[in-house]
C-alpha cells in the first residue's frame, strides 16, 4: 500500500492514544515555562489594583460545568485578588445548567480560605430565568429581580446588600463567562447602564472580545488557560493554570504535526490520482 494510502487510512484510535499520552506524560515532569503577560491581562490586573480597597464589585459566574478546567482557575484568581484587596463581592449567574451551584462552591471555598463571612464580604444572589429580563431589570433595581439570595435569605437582611441596589453602586464588574451571555453584559449593562466591565473567558470566546476591548467596551480580558496562568503569575500564585501549560505545548505541536502530515497525505494521493 503506497505511503499516501497508509497515511489516509490510519485508524483514528492511534491518534487518540497519542493525545492521551501527551497529556499524561508532562504531568510527571513538572516543567514550567516563562509566561509572557499580554496587554489585555495586564490591563485587567491594573484595573483591579486601581480600585479603592474595600469597594464592592460584581463577579457574575456565566459558566456551564463543561468548561470548568478553563474558567474555575480564572474565577479563583479573580476572587482571591478581590479578597486580597478587602473588596466585597456580589455574585450571580444566568446559566440555569449549573452556574449558581458553581458560584456557590467557588465563593465558599475561597471565602473560607480568606476568612471572609457570607453576607458581609460576599453574597451569591443565585439564578433567575431569562438573562435579558434579569440584566435589564437589575439596571433599574437589583431588588426588583432578586428579593432573596441563592439559598432564599431575604436580600435586605444581608449587610453587604444594604447600600447596593443597582449597577451604579458597584465599582467594577469582573465577569467569568464561557457563553454569549457576556455580549449582553457588555451591550446592556455596559452601554445602557454605564458599568465598567472586565472579563475572564474561555479561549473559544476570546477572539470576539478583542472587538470590545478595542472599542473600550471592555477594560481587560483573560483568554483561556493561558490568560489564567498570566493572571496567576501577576498575583504571584502558580496554581492550576500554570501546571497545564506543559501538556498544552506538547499537544499543540502534535496537532500542528497532524495538520501538516494530513495535508501531505492529501497532496500525495491527489498527485497519484492525476493521470501520469
Amino acid at each position: 500500500m503506497s505511503l499516501a494510502k497508509r497515511l489516509e487510512s490510519l485508524d483514528r484510535r492511534w491518534i487518540f492514544l497519542l493525545i492521551g499520552l501527551s497529556v499524561v506524560l508532562p504531568m510527571f515532569l513538572p516543567i514550567t515555562f516563562p509566561e509572557r503577560i499580554t496587554s489585555q491581562t495586564q490591563a485587567l490586573y491594573d484595573t483591579m489594583e486601581s480600585l479603592p480597597e474595600g469597594s464592592v464589585i460584581m463577579v457574575p459566574f456565566e459558566v456551564w460545568p463543561s468548561t470548568l478546567p478553563e474558567t474555575e482557575p480564572i474565577a479563583r484568581a479573580a476572587v482571591r485578588h478581590a479578597f486580597r484587596r478587602q473588596m466585597k463581592i456580589v455574585s450571580l449567574s444566568n446559566v440555569g445548567g449549573g452556574g449558581p451551584s458553581i458560584a456557590d462552591r467557588v465563593l465558599r471555598e475561597e471565602g473560607n480560605a480568606a476568612g471572609k463571612v457570607y453576607g458581609i464580604d460576599y453574597v451569591n444572589l443565585g439564578y433567575r430565568a431569562n438573562y435579558l429580563a434579569v440584566l435589564s431589570g437589575m439596571g433599574t433595581s437589583i431588588r426588583s429581580i432578586y428579593q432573596t439570595d441563592y439559598s432564599g435569605t431575604p436580600v435586605d437582611s444581608l449587610p453587604l446588600m444594604r447600600n447596593v441596589d443597582s449597577y451604579k453602586d458597584v465599582a467594577f464588574i469582573f465577569a467569568i463567562a464561557d457563553n454569549a451571555t457576556l455580549d449582553y453584559w457588555v451591550s446592556i449593562v455596559g452601554e445602557r447602564f454605564g458599568a465598567k466591565i472586565g472579563a475572564g473567558v474561555t479561549a473559544v470566546m476570546a477572539p470576539k472580545m478583542f472587538a470590545y476591548i478595542d472599542a473600550g467596551q471592555m477594560v481587560g480580558l483573560l483568554g483561556g488557560m493561558k490568560g489564567g496562568a498570566e493572571y496567576e503569575k501577576l498575583l504571584g500564585l502558580p496554581d492550576q493554570s500554570t501546571r497545564g501549560m506543559g501538556a498544552q505545548s506538547l499537544i499543540h505541536l502534535l496537532i500542528i504535526a497532524f495538520i501538516v502530515l494530513g495535508n501531505v497525505g492529501f497532496f500525495l494521493s491527489r498527485r497519484n490520482a492525476r493521470p501520469a
Binding site: S136, G137, I145, A206, K208, L253, I256, F258, I259, G262
Partner: protein
C-alpha cells in the same frame, strides 16, 4: 380572538421595553423593573415545560417498550432523584441536589467536552485539508496562532507570540467588528419583525 391576541401582547410588551429604554423617568423605571420580574417568572415556567416534555418523551418510550427503553428508565430515575432533592431539601451547598451536581453532573459534562480535544486531533489529521486558498489561509493562520500561544513557539522565534497577539488585536478585531455589526443589524430586524407582528414562526405550529 386567537390570532391577533398574542400579536397584540407581543407588540405591547415589546413597545414598553423600547419606551422604557428611552425614558429615565422614575415611574417608568419602577414599572419596567416589576414588569421584567414578571417576564422572568413566566420564562421560568417555559423551562419547566421543557423538563416535562423530556419526562413525557421518556415515559412514552418505556410504556411502549421502544428500542433502548431501559436507558429511558435510567434517565427518569436520575431526573426524579434530582428533582426530589431540589424540591424537598433545597439547592444550595450541603444538599443532596448540590452533591449530585458537583460530583456527578458537572464532572460528566466537563468530560464530554474534553473529548473534543481527541476529535480535533483526529480531524486535524483526517479531515482538515487545504482544499482551497481560503482553507489554506485559515490553516496557516491557525498554526501561527497555536505556536504563538505556547512557550515552545517563543523558543522557535522570539517575535511569534507578539505576531500571534497582533493577529488577534488588528485583523481579527476588524473582522469580529464587521461580523458584530452585520449580525446586530440582522438581530434587530428579527426582533423588530416579532414586535411588529410580522413574525409568527416563534409561536410554533403547536
Amino acid at each position: 380572538m386567537r390570532g391577533p391576541l398574542p400579536l397584540a401582547v407581543a407588540f405591547l410588551a415589546g413597545m414598553f421595553m423600547i419606551v422604557s429604554f428611552f425614558s429615565p423617568h422614575p415611574a417608568v423605571e419602577k414599572a419596567s423593573g416589576d414588569f421584567l420580574n414578571w417576564v422572568s417568572i413566566v420564562s421560568g415556567f417555559s423551562i419547566l415545560l421543557g423538563v416535562v416534555s423530556i419526562a413525557q418523551n421518556n415515559l412514552a418510550k418505556v410504556k411502549r417498550r421502544q428500542k433502548e427503553w431501559p436507558y429511558a428508565v435510567v434517565l427518569l430515575v436520575a431526573l426524579a432523584v434530582m428533582l426530589a432533592g431540589g424540591v424537598l431539601e433545597g439547592t444550595d451547598s450541603g444538599t443532596v441536589y448540590d452533591a449530585l451536581f458537583q460530583n456527578v453532573q458537572a464532572p460528566m459534562m466537563t468530560t464530554m467536552f474534553s473529548m473534543l480535544a481527541f476529535f480535533i486531533a483526529s480531524a486535524a489529521y483526517r479531515a482538515f485539508r487545504a482544499r482551497t486558498l481560503q482553507a489554506t489561509l485559515l490553516l496557516g493562520t491557525a498554526v501561527i496562532v497555536m505556536l504563538g500561544r505556547i512557550p515552545v513557539g517563543q523558543a522557535i522565534y522570539d517575535g511569534l507570540p507578539d505576531l500571534a497577539n497582533w493577529i488577534m488585536a488588528v485583523p481579527n478585531t476588524a473582522v469580529q467588528r464587521g461580523i458584530i455589526i452585520g449580525a446586530a443589524l440582522g438581530g434587530a430586524a428579527t426582533a423588530l419583525r416579532i414586535v411588529l407582528g410580522l413574525e409568527r414562526t416563534y409561536m410554533g405550529r403547536g
